[in-house]
Structure formats: structure tokens, C-alpha cells
Symmetry: C2
Subunit: 463 residues, 2 copies
């Protein structure tokens, strides 16, 4: 008994010691990753090029092609095992001429800045003039029914500012942008304009995707966004409807061209021990056609590239295959993510982990994990390693749109969770530019991503 007890004690202490040693090694490695990213990082410099030299890059555009070419060259410089392009068929929507809009009343015209929503059809060539009906939700349109016939429906449901996470506030309101035109079109409206998706009151219209779904061709109506400030003004005019009758005019010439080709840009470092276990880190290379796509998702792109650069620079040879994927066309229907997952399926590749950064280049607050309980309890043990870096949020749920199609019962999808307060100041607008990204915040995100990828690579996942 005594001997057994002694062995028990020795085993206990040595296991404990070895766990402690592992933790120490990990924390030293993570400190090195952060130091390299903060003192010698390349993400900011890459972002500068991607935003200022390539610029915006909507699927199918010239910028999209240039972004693909640039990313491939930059990944090739890193000395990865291999770099390649994966062809993806993408939709090709173009905004056309600059949109026009104004309010027309007996007192004259008042111009309003407007941007077509992505996927919308054009107005008639001479534009569209109609009375406005204001609503705060899709449900209100259904209640109004035929009363919206011949009118422009004005969706003015604001993102609720009392939510702490702005993504929740977005989630509560964005249905108006996505489905507003199809719902209004079904009841005979002739156009739909939408309050921009931000809690900030300013003069900047926010574009974004919309869908007609399965409504009839003749029910499809043009749709566009106006700024929050214009929306407030318009709402006040409507309130005073008796004093001043007015109509709203807008004109846009956007259209859907035939599908075209783009590419997922992929690079990998082959794993030393388990090359068939693949760990993906990525963001989407496309952006809206306004601004420079700096936060959405230039930041995620350069952070993902930086993860692999950090491994190379710090001579961390991954046990598993580490792959960066810069996805084509997220904004317009996820073609890149879908194509990547489908190719992986065909090749019977085993993706154990996929991490996406697509919530802006802001100070990282933590990660959101979509995985089973067993994997989650393993992950929670790592949480303390991130506290010195002020990452405190390890939560269930999350990942990213592009990696979503990779989900299996036993793998782990995760998303970087940066501070969300400023994201919707810039989202899908002309102000989403390089200058709005802080170098240190961007770099801390990249280091956080590299650190958790390092842990997944070291320990794999529980299957």
C-alpha cells in the first residue's frame, strides 16, 4: 500500500509538474508571439498597401483581381510550404452611376445622399418619385398591406443603442435592409429606402447586401440606404405631414452582370507530425465598393497572413498543417467559403480547427467558439494564458461566415472577438479606410489569433 501510495504521489506531482511546465512553455511562447507582433509586425504595413494601393474590391471588380494577385505574391514571400489560388464563381453586381435622391415639395428640392444596396435592381432610367410611408419593421409593412401600394417604404427602425455589443444591435435591425425590398415589393410598393445600420448619427449612408428571395420578377423594387441623419430628418418631415406635402425621388443604375471568376488565396505550412490535420485561419479578401474595406475585412486578411508570418519568423514548426485562407466574395453570398468547404469535402481533408477574423481590427477582447462540450472544456483551460493580454471573453457561439460551411460535429470553429463599439461607425461605408485602424489594436488581434492557433496546433482537439 505504501509503495502504491508513494507512486501515486510521485505520479501526481510529476503530472502536475509537467502540466505546469507545459503552461510555462506556452506562456513564454505566447509572450514571444505578442512581442514580435507589436515590435516587428507586418499586418499594418500590409493593410496600408491593401487599402491604399488596391483599394475597395467587390467580387468581380478590378480591385478584387488586384487583391488576389497582391495576396498571392505576399504569401509567396513568406516561404510557406505552398501557396495557391482556388477558383470561385462569384456574382458580379455593379453600382453604376452615382445615385441621386432628393425630397420634392412645394418649398423646393432638398438633396439627400443615398447608396444602392448590394444586389438591388436599378430604378427606371429617369428615377422614381413617390410618396413615402415610414415604418419601423418588416411586420409593420405586413400590417399596412395594400396601403404601401405605389409608395416608397421608408424603413426607419434604428439599431437599439442600449445593447452593449453592437453586433446584437445590428442583428435586431438588419432584417429591414436584407428583406425590406422583398416584403414591401410583395405589397405593391415601388421602392424601399432604409435607415443606415449604425447607432451613430451622421451623414454617411451604409450599403450592404439585400435579397429578393423568391418573389416574382415584377415585385422586385429598387432599394437604397440613407444616412441616420437623413433618416431622422425625413421622419420629422413625415411627422409634420399636414404642413408640408412632399415626395421622395431616387435614381440608381446598379445591375447584376453575369457571374464571373475570383479566387480564394491559400497558403500553408505543412505539419511536421500530423500533416492531415488542418488548421485554418482566415478572413475575406473582398469588400464593399465604398471606402477601402479596412476594418471589413482588410484587417482580418492581414491578421491571418500575420499568423503564418509569426510562425515562420519565430521558427515555430507546426505539428499540424496550418493554412491561411483569404476567402473570395463573402459580402455577396459567401461563394468563397462555400467553394472552399466543398473542395475540402471532395478531397476528404480533415479540418480540425478554423478561426476567422471578420469583426474589425479593434482591440481583441476574446474569442467565440462553436464546438462540442469536450472541446470547449479543453479550450477553457487556456483562458488564463490570455489574461495578461487583456483577453477575457471565452464564450460559446461564434466563428465567421466564411468558415461556417466547414462545421463538423467534432471540430472547432472560432471567431476573434474585438471590441465592437466602433465597428458600425465604418461598416460598409466610405469611411472604412486605413486611417480608422489603430496599429496596436490590429497587431494585438493578430497576436491573439497566432497564440490560440499555436495552442490548437500543440494540443490538437479532443475527438
Amino acid at each position: 500500500m505504501k509503495k502504491i501510495l508513494l507512486i501515486g504521489i510521485i505520479t501526481f506531482f510529476s503530472t502536475n509538474l509537467s502540466a505546469q511546465t507545459e503552461t510555462n512553455i506556452d506562456s513564454v511562447k505566447i509572450r514571444k508571439i505578442y512581442t514580435e507582433a507589436l515590435t516587428n509586425g507586418r499586418s499594418y504595413q500590409w493593410l496600408n498597401y491593401l487599402t491604399k494601393k488596391v483599394g475597395h474590391r467587390l467580387a468581380g471588380s478590378e480591385g478584387d483581381k488586384n487583391a488576389v494577385a497582391w495576396a498571392k505574391v505576399e504569401l509567396e514571400k513568406l516561404g510557406l510550404t505552398k501557396v495557391w489560388l482556388q477558383p470561385v464563381t462569384v456574382p458580379h453586381w455593379v453600382r453604376g452611376e452615382k445615385e441621386e435622391a432628393h425630397i420634392e415639395s412645394e418649398f423646393g428640392k432638398f438633396n439627400i445622399d443615398i447608396r444602392a444596396l448590394g444586389g438591388s435592381i436599378a430604378t427606371p432610367k429617369g428615377g422614381l418619385l413617390a410618396e413615402v410611408v415610414e415604418v419601423k419593421s418588416l411586420k409593420e409593412v405586413e400590417e399596412l398591406g395594400d396601403k404601401v401600394k405605389g409608395k416608397i417604404v421608408f424603413y426607419n427602425g434604428a439599431m437599439p443603442a442600449d445593447k452593449i455589443e453592437t453586433f446584437r444591435a445590428y442583428g435586431a435591425a438588419v432584417g429591414q435592409r436584407v428583406n425590406g425590398a422583398s416584403v414591401a415589393g410583395k405589397f405593391g410598393a415601388v421602392g424601399a429606402i432604409v435607415r443606415s445600420m449604425t447607432t451613430k448619427i451622421d451623414n454617411v449612408p451604409h450599403t450592404g447586401t439585400m435579397r429578393y428571395g423568391d418573389i416574382d420578377e415584377n415585385q422586385k423594387i429598387p432599394t437604397a440606404a440613407i444616412s441616420t441623419s437623413s433618416a431622422d430628418m425625413l421622419s420629422k418631415l413625415i411627422e409634420q405631414g399636414d404642413k408640408m406635402k412632399f415626395k421622395f425621388y431616387f435614381k440608381q443604375s446598379c445591375k447584376n452582370l453575369p457571374d464571373t471568376q475570383s479566387f480564394n488565396v491559400i497558403g500553408e505550412i505543412e505539419g511536421l507530425n500530423y500533416p492531415n490535420e488542418i488548421i485554418v485561419v482566415g478572413g475575406h479578401l473582398d469588400s464593399w465598393d465604398l471606402g477601402e474595406g479596412a476594418h471589413d475585412d482588410g484587417s482580418g486578411v492581414v491578421q491571418s497572413m500575420e499568423v503564418l508570418r509569426l510562425f515562420k519568423e519565430l521558427k515555430i514548426k507546426p505539428k499540424r498543417t496550418l493554412r491561411v485562407v483569404l476567402f473570395a466574395n463573402e459580402e455577396f453570398g459567401l461563394s468563397g467559403g462555400t467553394a472552399y468547404a466543398s473542395a475540402a469535402e471532395n478531397k476528404k481533408e480533415k479540418h480540425i480547427v478554423a478561426l476567422e477574423s471578420d469583426s474589425g481590427g479593434f482591440t481583441p477582447r476574446g474569442f467565440g467558439f462553436t464546438c462540442n462540450d469536450k472541446n470547449y472544456s479543453q479550450i477553457l483551460k487556456w483562458k488564463q494564458l490570455f489574461e495578461p493580454y487583456n483577453l477575457h471573453i471565452f464564450a460559446r457561439g461564434g466563428g465567421g461566415a466564411d468558415i461556417g460551411p466547414l462545421k463538423k460535429d467534432d471540430n472547432v470553429l472560432l471567431g476573434l472577438r474585438p471590441d465592437s463599439q466602433r465597428y458600425f461607425d465604418y461598416h460598409h461605408t466610405e469611411t472604412d479606410v486605413f486611417e480608422m485602424v489603430n496599429k496596436r489594436e490590429l497587431e494585438l488581434g493578430a497576436a491573439s489569433m497566432a497564440s490560440i492557433i499555436y495552442l490548437f496546433d500543440q494540443y490538437g482537439i479532443n475527438n
Copy 2:
């Protein structure tokens, strides 16, 4: 025994229940505070006025006077128990004419943007031209000794970018700015120029306070800051010294005028139950004379005002006396904080808690507490109430410069800890303007402050 056990159980459950109920009431109240601050807050609007209409407000300046007048009027509008001005004698330093600087070499002149440090003397009227000696620390100057005689010492020790908290990086480098001129002057240098205190590489010089300490009058030399970008360039020129000899020229006409008068602006809501227990919340009303003092410390000022407004608006009648103090002259030697504490001492006022916000109007991450163990263990129980608002850092240490003089063995000083990554992008520069403050981040800070003040007011502190 059984009866006692039963009573024990009942007591246990009812105590527990009552603790739970308290927590529920507190969490409901805190939710109300955040909702009001985020949907109907006044801090951003106040900051707009303070930055754009009042502008910068260095102690003794016209802006300082206007800020005092404005703050008093705004506090009076809130319907507090009383509002008053507390006279404070403040130093009065003026920058004088715009500074000039250039590099002079056989290849010509190259202009450099420069800003005198606060408290510095002027150069001779025609400016100062001398060779440059580059150092990275005060110690290096002491090692060089007489070799700096007749030279301009160029302090180029960068803030270490690998620190996660930028305030630590600042702490590691700022000694050069504060004491650089006095150390160099002692060894016969004729001037001192300092690399700006930021990790950002740009063209913006950062001013800030400097001290001559007790050196002889004839050892006092003029000192100024150059931008990080200019510092890097200058360092490269020095490195290539053999190829190009050059001298550095600068001219500044700043001076110290006689002390003058400013005011702490104070407002209070008298406590219902314990009016003699005072809880202070504050920031400093003065700012540097560059930019608009938006983050430093316009944000702290309007957040502190908002705390009292939130109590009034939500009809929370404090048990203890709740006082907002907008301190005069923090930047130039803490006259406001010192005068306030000294008056409190004279009046035998009992300050149980003082909270300062002076780290910028960024997303709040938590609080730092200076207090004894007993108080700290009470405070830690409140931490969970802040997790829904993404405040995770409850740490020992911290407070604020202005409230420092209020410290007693048994009271609690605390400081709001916002995210620190962007603070030194703007600190003491022309870019510290309203546009650099995000409305939601500012409001979340105010709500966090009001919430913890609410808890201190409810429960007092353990004495």
C-alpha cells in the same frame, strides 16, 4: 439541537435570499444606468461644446476661464443640492510664438515641427544652434558627462511597444521628457529635445510637463519635443554622421508668467442618510494648449458630470453625499487636487470614496483600486455585476493624480480603466480633438462610473 439547526437553515436561506435580492436590485439598477447613458446620455453633447466652443484650456488661459464658467452653468442646470467654485492658485505658462526648428547642414536646411515642453524656458531670442548628441536614457547623459557640454541632447528612448498596457510603456520612457533638460543642463548642454511619447510613428509632436527641479538658474536649458517620425529621421542622420555634418536649430519664446487664479468647479447632491460621508467623482478641467483636450481630460470631465445627471434623471437619491469635482490645473502641477484635499482637511470632511476618469474616453475595461484589503474584498464581490458590460479588470492600484491627495488609510480611491491602445496617439497633441472620441465608448465609461458609484453609495465602505 434540531430547533437550532432549523433556525440555522432558515437563517442561512433567508440571508442568502436577501443577498440574492440585493444583487438583483443592483443589477436592475445598473442596467437602467447603462440604458439611460447609451440612449439619452449627455456626455457626448457636453464634450462637443467643451472641445469645440471652449477649446483648449491650459491653466491661466482664456480657455481655462471659459471652461470654469461653462461647467458651473451646466452643473447648475442639473438641479443639484449646490454648485460652487473653489479658488485655486495656478501657474501660468505661455507658449508664446509658434516654435521653429530645422536641421542645418552643407546640403541646406530641413524644417522640423517642434513644440516646447510645458514649463520650459525660451531659447535665446535668435534661437539656438548646436551639434546634437543622441541618447536613449537619462543614465546615458550621466555617463557621457562633460561630452554633452555645448551640445543639444536628443533623448530618443522610444516607448517600448511590447508592453500591452500603453501606460506602462509611457512610464518607461517619460522620465526623459520630465527630467531630460535638468539632467542635460547639469552637464552643460545648451538644449534638450525629446522624442514624442507615443508608439505611433507620425509627424505629430507631443508636449507635456517638464521640471527643472533644484538645479541652478544658469543650468536651466530650453527643451522641446519632436515627432517620432522626425526623431527616427534625426537618428538616421546622426548614424551617418561622417557623410553629413549638421547642427540642430530651434527657437521658442515660451515663458512662465506670475501665478494666477483658477477654480475647481464642484457640485453635489446631499446624501439622505449619511450626508457627512462624501463620495467624489471627477476629472480635470484644464488641458494642454494644443488640440482640444478631448480625451485628456474632457472625457473625464463630461463623464463625471454625467454620473450626477444619471442619478438625478433616474431619481436615485443617494444615501451619501455625491460630489462631482472638476479639478483645476492637473497638467501643471496638480494645484486643483492639492487645493481640494487641503480644503477638505480644513473642513474635516470625510471622503470615503474618490473616483477619477483621466485615461481617455475609450471603451471601459474595468477599474483600478487603491484601498485596504478589507475594502478590496468587499469590492471584488461587485465584479460580476459588471461582466454583462464587458468590464473584466478589477485590479489593485490606480486612482488618479487629482484625487491622490485625498488618500487615507481607510478610504477607497479608484480610477476608471479604459482600453489604453489609442491614448498615446492623441495625448498632449493637436490631434486630441472631439472627432477622436467615440460616443458609445465615452457613454459606456460614464455608465460604468455611475454604476460603481451607485454601489459605493448603497453599501458604503468597511471601516
